[in-house]
């Protein structure tokens, strides 16, 4: 947990949560979807209030999930061409060539202060009259806003040495932040191709695309050619948007060399190398967020525990990307890339070991209670059971990754030890069952504990091995015995 010290609330030493609308964001995760959308609409009316902005940041995961038609604002229209590469609020996945959210406010200030004020006012009124969800109307606003904003940005950031005092003052505010400057120039590039990006988004929907089919590839090719007619240097940015709309961005590399880049044909090898380098860097960045102990550093540096199943899902995505990238990189025959990819694989391996294998005894075995000394069965804990089942499933899913990560032996050992441990604990419960059998409630509790242990064994060791325990349980309870 990190402390926030923006001075706005005067509680710099308190954890971040303390100064938001108290408890609201937690409740916003639980309420029904229609209520959630209603609250979001209300909050949007006062969204410039700092506490409301904090609340929006906190509830972003649900906003992403529910995607309510937000009230359109000119600022949001400005962000449309690069919204796919905006850094997500949480998790290990980072979009290729990402733009950080902290860039949005300085960007907006630069555009409003250096851009065409009359046009901005006119477009702002137009947006206010637009109904939420009317994408065409917003794109019509964008058609006029984006080129103007790109020009203003390039003027302010690219020409920082000019005598315009307003621009200098603004630039001073960001002085020394080279990363911010780079990202603002990237934004200018996205804005310049705004309309092509928007139509490509329609062709590459819904996001994320699981696979690139022929119509997708055709759409990318046409968009590349359109952008190449504008400027060959902008093709790279268009491809970043295409990659970010895919479940596995590295898949784009596999079709890239088959595309006809039109007027950017000469730059094609450079763009390919640029994009592949970025894919590898991106994999490194994503793996750097895994530290092996089951934690990932979130965007704000916050430590977030990764559940075993989530860890496996992350590992599966990363390994798929590494495999695709390796196959493509063979064309470049660059040993350096191979080493970098191997390093990424190693950090994935240690993350999987740390979150799924090493924690298996605590995560799975402890859900089966030990028999109590007083002969009464331990109460059933269904939350612990659910967590243990998730862990057991993660362990089984590891089988698919064990080859790629060199985890065959450790996984085999973990599975064998879980099977043995579960069997021992189940046998202990079985031995104590007759003591509970006299009282119907106790008997039911004891049987639930046995059945839950049986389920864990089934998940870990498969039905054939579990069936022996099932037969023993049924013999002890006599439930289906012939009368």
């Amino acid at each position: 947990m990190t402390g926030r010290s923006d001075g706005m609330t005067g509680r710099a030493d308190e954890p971040g949560e303390a100064d938001r609308l108290p408890g609201l964001e937690n409740r916003l995760f639980d309420i029904p979807e229609d209520k959630f959308i209603e609250v979001v609409r209300l909050l949007e009316r006062v969204r410039d209030h700092p506490e409301v902005r904090q609340t929006f940041a906190a509830i972003r995961p649900r906003l992403v999930q529910v995607r309510p038609n937000r009230r359109p604002t000119l600022k949001r229209v400005l962000c449309m061409p690069f919204e796919d590469v905006l850094e997500s609020a949480s998790g290990v996945d980072v979009p290729l060539g990402r733009i950080e959210r902290r860039v949005i406010d300085p960007l907006w200030r630069l555009v409003t202060e250096c851009g065409d004020r009359a046009l901005i006012d006119q477009l702002d009124r137009q947006v206010q009259e637009t109904a939420p969800g009317n994408l065409n109307a917003l794109r019509n606003v964008g058609r006029r806003l984006w080129p103007m904003a790109a020009q203003a940005l390039r003027g302010a950031v690219g020409g920082a040495g000019e005598t315009d005092t307003g621009r200098q003052a603004l630039w001073r505010a960001m002085l020394g932040d080279e990363e911010m400057r780079r990202q603002l120039l990237d934004v200018a590039a996205f804005l310049e191709i705004g309309l092509t990006v928007e139509s490509l988004k329609d062709s590459l929907a819904p996001k994320p695309l699981a696979a690139l089919d022929d119509p997708h590839v055709d759409a990318i090719e046409q968009a590349v050619q359109a952008v190449a007619r504008q400027s060959a240097g902008l093709v790279y940015y268009l491809l970043l948007v295409a990659a970010s709309r895919m479940a596995n961005p590295a898949d784009l590399l596999t079709v890239l060399n088959e595309l006809d880049f039109g007027k950017a044909r000469r730059e094609q090898p450079v763009i390919f190398a640029q994009l592949s380098g970025l894919v590898v860097t991106n994999l490194e960045e994503r793996s750097a967020r895994l530290d092996g102990a089951g934690y990932s550093a979130g965007p704000g540096g916050a430590a977030v525990a990764i559940a075993p199943e989530e860890a496996i899902a992350i590992a599966e995505r990363l390994i798929a990307s590494i495999d695709t990238t390796s196959a493509v990189m063979d064309v470049l025959a660059d040993p350096l890339y191979r080493e970098r990819l191997d390093a990424v694989k190693l950090s994935v391996r240690s993350m999987v070991s740390g979150t799924v294998l090493d924690t298996a005894p605590a995560g799975i075995l402890t859900a089966v209670p030990a028999p109590a000394a007083n002969g009464r069965p331990a109460p059933v804990n269904e939350d612990a059971q659910a967590a243990a089942e998730d862990h057991a499933r993660a362990l089984r899913r590891c089988e698919g990754l064990a080859g790629a990560l060199g985890l065959h032996e450790p996984l085999k050992d973990a599975m064998a030890s879980m099977e043995k441990g579960l069997m021992a604990r189940a046998q202990a419960l079985l031995a104590h069952y007759p003591k509970a059998a006299g009282d119907p409630d106790d008997a039911e509790t004891a049987e639930m504990n046995l059945f839950y242990a049986l389920r864990l064994l089934e998940l870990v060791a498969g039905p054939a091995k579990a069936d022996r325990l099932r037969t023993a349980i049924m013999a002890a309870t006599g439930e289906f015995a012939e009368e």
Partner: protein, 368 residues
Amino acid sequence: MLKGAIEYAPSTFEERGAAVAFTTPLLSQTRVRRGERSKLEVLIPSLSQGMGIYVVAWKSVPDMVSMTMHDRYLHDLIVKEEACSPYEIRRATLKAARRGLAGPKAAQAARRALDEDDEQSTLTHYLLILSILKAVGLESPEMLKAGIDTDEGQRLTRQLMTRAAESLRMDATLLYARLADIAAVTAPVGLAHSPRPGRLTRGLNDLKGFRDGMIDWAREVPSDAAPVAEFCAEVAQHTIAIGEKVLGDFHRRIEAIGPLMRDWDDAFIRVRSQAARMAWLLDGWSHITGAWEVAQAEDRHQQAATVNDLFRILPLLPRRESSRDFVEDSKQVKLAHRRSVRMLEDWRTGQMDIDAIRRIEAVKARAP
């Protein structure tokens, strides 16, 4: 014992069999029925993605398919209880899930469903008493005020019911016995004016939601699965149309409780068979509507796979129940469907697909 693949065109509900909510993917929603010499048998559709259906003696299923622990328990329970009507199969399924063998969430859902059944039964009983009293002009504000669960309320109820029996010219014990019979038949369907619709009425409403969902999905997501979704919507619509007619007729007969009591022998048989028909009509649909709800949180590729999965287990109406031959029509859809079907686990090696099992258990936790 495997009899080999047969052409599947049942003419009655009983011949079609009742769907069993197994968690083994290959057995999910397979149907059980009473076959030759009253022995239970199970109908397993397209074991190898082919056409037709396999008829297997119930007792030999565990030897043929590697089953989950939940399914072995449920299998034994069905053998023990000789269950094969939708009602009996549902009770057995809830009992198995309550034991925790389909996971904690399914266990909680099963406990809730069993409690709801009890509550619905009490509520229906109470509402039927009120309706009998109303039919003979004995409405009593005092009784309503006292409530049926108080001693005073029960004393007043007994008093009024004795008078109602006199007015209907029958013995009070007989009136109570008939009331219990009607309540048992009515509770799953629910009364028209009940504050909480019965389970089967809710099922019919869910089916309408499913039909609309399929139509919208087929329109919004052009894919191989779109014609499959359209077919699912058509089968649902046909079932809804029949269901609404049966439900309307059932409610009309129960409303006329006086004539029902008087003309008991014929009238009760009719009411009971209508309730049974509702149960058969909706049998197998709750898993389908629940699975579609679960799929709402997934991406469109997963949804397409779900549509294909659901097609495989769609409760097609038997020939005698419908003017349209859906079995024949489904063959046209199958051509498109076979290209994009989600592979079931390899039933020969017995390797379990834990993701597929989990999806089925998630549906059980939602629609027990």
